[in-house]
Amino acid sequence: MRAFADLLERLAFTPSRNAKLQLLQHYLERTPDPDRGYAFAALTGDLKLRTVTPGLLRGLVEERFDPELFRLSYDFVGDLAETIALIWDGEAQGELSVSAAVHLLETTGKAGLPAAIAGVLDRLGPSERLAFLKLATGNLRIGLSARLARTALAQMGGPELHEIEELWHGLTPPFTELFAWIGGGARPESAALAPFRPVMLSTPTDLDELRALDPADHVAEWKWDGIRVQAVSDGGVRRLYSRTGEDISGAFPDVIAAMNYDGALDGELVVRREGAVASFNDLQQRLNRKTVSKPMLSSHPAGLRVYDALIWQGADLRGLPLMERRAVLESADFGSEMIDLSPLLTFATWDDLAALRADPPDPVIEGVMIKRRDSVYVGGRPRGPWFKWKRDPRVVDAVLMYAQRGHGKRSGFYSDFTFGLWDGEALVPVGKAYFGFTDEELRELDRFVRNNTVERFGPVRAVAPKLVVEVAFEGVNRSTRHKSGVAMRFPRISLIRWDKPVAEADRLETLEAMIDDPNVFGSDAARAGTRHGRKKRREEGAG
């Protein structure tokens, strides 16, 4: 637990991705099985333990500490587990292994859990107490994605990341076979059906860059504003993965039911009504949920718009050129009207494509994708074969940084938000927004703020940089009054991107680049119409 506690401590404060990778890699190299496997599972969220609730922890505290002193301490520290870890009286007595801690949490009955946890706390040092409580509450908060954690495995000199990712969903903690494989042993045989395969990503482009390429070598298709998924149906096992390999099947039983085919498809997850693709806002109602209600399934039915096929009826198509994969898809039966193929666009020159992009037939289109006809399907983001050319920006994806309690009807709610953009490895606040969301979304945001507070300054809370919000605005000016040097006009939160990794929020440069761009001002009538409609709905909701 000592080494695990040190690791968590370092990871929690280390901003750099590479440094995080190094710390984790070294921990895994120096820690024996099965401890490293359980620790790894804790980091990737694959350790399913009996959840120790805040209520249980408070109960432990009430038995031992003066409530007034605890209250003052908790106010100062701001995090329950951390306060308990710090305030608890105990000296380190010997070493408690991570696996022993996991075993204890797995095998202790609910009634015995408080005493068992107190017993463990009594014999740990302070940083280990915190690590143990984080393990027990399942909330490590160290800003390390499962994918980044798996990247550390790939750095250990054994199998490549994509090989590990393909196998990942067939593995269970403490991953002894996986570590044996990494150490030079045999590849685990227990590969499950319907594995995730690394997704191929595109790089951004623009007209100037495109002019250097031959349009005849490329095809283009709409970029749909949903979330990119991999839908795998394999020998009766069906799984829906996000593009980082998280299994999101549970939230989309309708999509799972529609996957009446045998293969692994790459596509966009969208809400569909009568064939048409609904807005991202509609899809958003379905995201970030563990389960989904029947009314939601019928009001917001989800489906797929297919871009590509990795596997089809037992054949691995990834080594084939795009157009050959496409031919397979064009003659394929997906087994449901909720799944269809994303059509190709007809264009002869890049200017043709620019015209299409400027006036898309559907507001849910967020630009065009351009792909080389001969491109093979490779995981990762190779530069060259695939490009995305998004519609003209007038929104930014910002990271929620601070929240302030509102007044009047919003008393007690964290309703005024300060958001920021990346500048180097740091976030810079660029503006504030306090409307644009429904009452229900406000409650969700408030909950998020309370659960992710890292510091309080009177009525203001600083929140952990974990949530991306799409901010819509009318324009952006230079400003000497703002630290970021820019001021947005009329900013409002247009979408809450529960799905979007914080690292992918926009950079300050993106906003700065919009300063002189006339296209910022509502050049896209269709999209503007959607926004207007959305805003109107929200105002009704907020009323």
Partner: protein, 331 residues
Amino acid sequence: MRADDFLHPTPAGLYCPQGDFFIDPVRPVPRALITHGHGDHARAGHGAVLATRQTLEIMAIRYGEGFAGTTQAAEGPVTIGGVGVSFHPAGHVLGSAQIRLAPEGGPVIVVSGDYCRTPNPVCAPWEPVPCDVFVTEATFGLPVFKHPDPAAETRRLLASMAEFPDRAHLVGAYALGKAQRVIALVRQAGHDGPIHLHGAVQRLTDYHVEQGIALGDLRPATVPKEIEGQLVIAPPSAFASPWVQRFRDPVISFASGWMAVRARARQRGVELPLVISDHVDWPQLTQTLTELRPDEVWVTHGAEEGLVRWCELNQLRARPLRLVGYEEDEE
């Protein structure tokens, strides 16, 4: 007469009417007794200053020789206007002292200043001084503050230097006391390579060396080629200044008792928080009060509420003085 009649808070600081002097005044006064050299306790511009020789020398380094009208080094007990005054080691920084007041016909009052009971290689250890009224700080006056063994924290620093040998490790440490203590701790932990100093910690570090404290190979942190991958000691304020730009990919560290709380470390943008404090932590605070068992505890600054609550629970008469002007961040 009540203890308040012999010592009470005023806007300028704690005032003793019988001796007509202030202790650690925050604005210029005719006569000041000063516990230690930190800027919020030791200010320039007083008429006469009584402090330990080292505190006077530190003040001269910080403010120049003419920092006060006259100075007197505290060497043995003196009487000022019928008040017996003596200085006793506080274990906080070099020269730091508790001030014992024994007014004629009044209670014995000990003003602790800032103090620390963890052994510190760069200053004399704290001594218990029996008293009727104990005037204490409460910088870390909450039970969450239990400072770990500074040697263990130092090992974490050295482990990080081994983990990231190409990255300079910049340890933020206040120029008086903490900087030299970190250096001494690093030496005790066996690191004997050069340690580079930010200009703002240079003079006070030199002074420690002059006082006979061995700190090893110290160099200015000026030559870019020489500081990559090295250990550098700097005042925490330097991290917000362009000075940091000379380092390619530094590990920013901060040695402070506040680093025990994650939100504080994050607020500072610290990558390697080191919990090394020159103040008493909660166990030391409460142990001190238990041992001294004064009739009254006065709490000058810090988390007064927590300590006063503890006194209440332990049948000790206590009250907060709510003195203003002392910075909790001078740590």
